[in-house]
Symmetry: D2
Amino acid sequence: MCRWLAYSGTPLLLDTILYKPAHSLIDQSLHSKLGVETTNGDGFGVGWYAANGTPAVLRDVGPAWNNRNLREIADHVQSPLFFAHIRASTGTAVQQTNCHPFRHGRWLWMHNGSIADFHLMRRELFLLVDPQLFNGIEGTTDSEMMFYLALTFGLEQDPPGAVARMAGTVERIGHEKGVEFPLQMTVAVTDGVRVWAFRYSSKGESRSLFYSSRVDTLRTLHPDVEFLQEVSDETRLIVSEPLGDLPGAWNEVPESSYGVVQPGADEMFTFSPQAA
Amino acid sequence: MCRWLAYSGTPLLLDTILYKPAHSLIDQSLHSKLGVETTNGDGFGVGWYAANGTPAVLRDVGPAWNNRNLREIADHVQSPLFFAHIRASTGTAVQQTNCHPFRHGRWLWMHNGSIADFHLMRRELFLLVDPQLFNGIEGTTDSEMMFYLALTFGLEQDPPGAVARMAGTVERIGHEKGVEFPLQMTVAVTDGVRVWAFRYSSKGESRSLFYSSRVDTLRTLHPDVEFLQEVSDETRLIVSEPLGDLPGAWNEVPESSYGVVQPGADEMFTFSPQAA
Amino acid sequence: MCRWLAYSGTPLLLDTILYKPAHSLIDQSLHSKLGVETTNGDGFGVGWYAANGTPAVLRDVGPAWNNRNLREIADHVQSPLFFAHIRASTGTAVQQTNCHPFRHGRWLWMHNGSIADFHLMRRELFLLVDPQLFNGIEGTTDSEMMFYLALTFGLEQDPPGAVARMAGTVERIGHEKGVEFPLQMTVAVTDGVRVWAFRYSSKGESRSLFYSSRVDTLRTLHPDVEFLQEVSDETRLIVSEPLGDLPGAWNEVPESSYGVVQPGADEMFTFSPQAA
Amino acid sequence: MCRWLAYSGTPLLLDTILYKPAHSLIDQSLHSKLGVETTNGDGFGVGWYAANGTPAVLRDVGPAWNNRNLREIADHVQSPLFFAHIRASTGTAVQQTNCHPFRHGRWLWMHNGSIADFHLMRRELFLLVDPQLFNGIEGTTDSEMMFYLALTFGLEQDPPGAVARMAGTVERIGHEKGVEFPLQMTVAVTDGVRVWAFRYSSKGESRSLFYSSRVDTLRTLHPDVEFLQEVSDETRLIVSEPLGDLPGAWNEVPESSYGVVQPGADEMFTFSPQAA
């Protein structure tokens, strides 16, 4: 339903990633190639870690492609870790509190996909959210609910485990309500240091998700691409759709997997929902 | 926290009531005299019954005083029954789904006041909402929650009883949470035929509420006021603050009372919360 | 750059034309088939003649497809004559004052197309606008400038002549500035009684424009289509792209032509720019 | 009609100046004490010089007091030089392109006041703007026109001279149109290094303008105020209304004067309009 992008690495102007590439996220807001919808014009958000290490979030309800404030931020703000998201609503209100990324303390969360027949399970899921966290829910999306369930299930201590328990819970309650394939998700979550990215769907037909190749490998392949000289080996992008058209740059995240972008070697693991 | 106005009577251009009077609701959005805040600039809404008898609702997040679409509607739409509301948020998100009036089927609801320490009781109150109605809640205000509790408690069959049960429930749960004075409200609700207006607060110090005098009485007092010649005897206004400065035009709704504006003689009753 | 629709005939809920048809204008805001852009999400407007005969205009800066206030108006307002427009900006600010239709007194104007290299001639064109009208220009679009030039050249007395003089002037100044094909336009203009619709471009490759067939003819072709029984013979639509898929319903407006929808027989004429 | 603030000195989070002080600019948006209007809710803007030395501008149409994106920027962006402005429109459209500060290249401009009977002179003033600059005018305010006139008259080479010629021109044309007191202004303008602040009105009754005392003096007066220990001697604020309530902190800019905040000693001069 949406498209997103997560960047981690050498501090860059957001513009470098959000606007500059050939098939940039901003371009995808008008012309998505791999999304369920070609247009993602129902709000957007960008979250970045500022100089003091805390995440800032800019969100607005119009399309990203014509938003002047986003353009300003992209042209003037540098960050080593940022998330960006463009939304295509399927009826839920278009309002800031329904725009991604969502934030809790140091954590950012964004999502593409949906809980099928969410209206059937929304109340049950609400009841499972930690009462201490409950009032943090400001919007009405399934995505924010997934975040608060993951927080309830220990996201801050064990992100992959908490996301697995969230997914398992959504599937259990979905099945109780007669929903065959309750969950469809690509999710990115970060604490400002590491980024976890999940690709999963109950049906095994998940939305597209790609990660960029190691920068040192790409540098060898493309010694003349200036951008690659400017960023560290640690630099990594995870995206709903490939940006640009550099051969060898993009790799699909496998079905039912999650990756961790972190200081040192990044890792990829199998993902399976767990009972909670 | 807000100001509102309910009109019932001879079909009028909304402008006649919303903009024209000396101390109009639009003027109150900048310069409220009796409100807790002088400025009510955190969104607004107007709901009117159209020619086919169904309610239309226009809401937006900016101030009413500079909204051009509201001006257009006011200049071109006539209605025999309309609600208008200007909002002063105390922190809750400024978004359309938090603007009044709220609608359910043929019903409109608007509110000035608050549930004290709403964050302490929001989850409990949520659980009391009829699961069939639950997904209709789109925003995060106490006002919308009060509406859905009243609907749960039979608003469509017995408005005064349902509002009394809602108020009793809010007070009961508030007291359980240690909140001394849980409820502060002036509420207007309508089905498009009758308007019920409530003034109540747990502390007995309710926000201001006024109703206009009988038009036939006013006509005798002010034979030269043209407007009074143009509207029927049945015409009635209920307002947070008096409009204009016509002597004898406004009467305070007593504490712990509610009025019913209806075809035939209007009525006033005592209001007391009930256990539910 | 945009898509528009003009309706004249039996008073209808705006919804009947704006949302209901298979390939409605609202659908075109997301998925235009014949437009230069597939997405028209940079604001929208609707203008309708109200019961008192004056035009109301509702405009907003987000996409039409997710706008709740437009949905409300469409569901509750009836009119015998209305314009609707969805915008795709090519860089000009997305703001209400750049949304169509534009209004002057009883007149509404909307446009699809552009003045090529408008920035080269904007100042010169400004100087040609009647100083009495000058301050009415609130936005920065070529479309609004064309309206004010047409008003300057006598739109209220002789619409086809004034539009011809506007077009001639734009072409003259464009040629002076070295612009080969200065004008591309489909324009609709109305005084609330008649609608004039123009299709013209300097290059002879104008944007698409269609008008609906006579209702009596369509009724014979499609005796089972209920909608056709409900509207008068006089009912007419002019659209950038055909709505629905009724065979025989749509006819292309020829290049360099204009039509007049009016009480009695409608008419079609050749259009050619004139020196002014 | 508006309120503004200019900061130059030790790089600070915008929050430190925009939100933290007792009578902050954000507070003034709801409760101005010295302004013509108590509410300044018709849009706002903030411009800051980023790490690369170029100015970023964030503007929006709602009130500053409830804008979450402004809050985010203030909490996460540091700058050594920033402008902030809150607007109270007197009828001109509330849109981003009418919000201050205005930008041209490295320059920022903001204004409080008005050109009296601007509608009478708008066209004449437009004609005086350098045709090369003309298309940069995106909005409809007198404030932006003043900026473009000053640019036309050499703002980038000689700011005080250009502003004097702008003021002289507005007065000349105003007098030609029969306007007795054409100009009322407090203006701030910067190139990112120096800030010029002007206080002038044709009538000699200019809007309020204050500058902060030397930090070293204040430190002696208030050795216990922590904030003063953290900022350099060069730190300076210019404001429409004093922030906070520190005795000795604020000094009125005299009538018909301008000050220059710059590396080294700041300066104050007499201002008088000049023929251009």
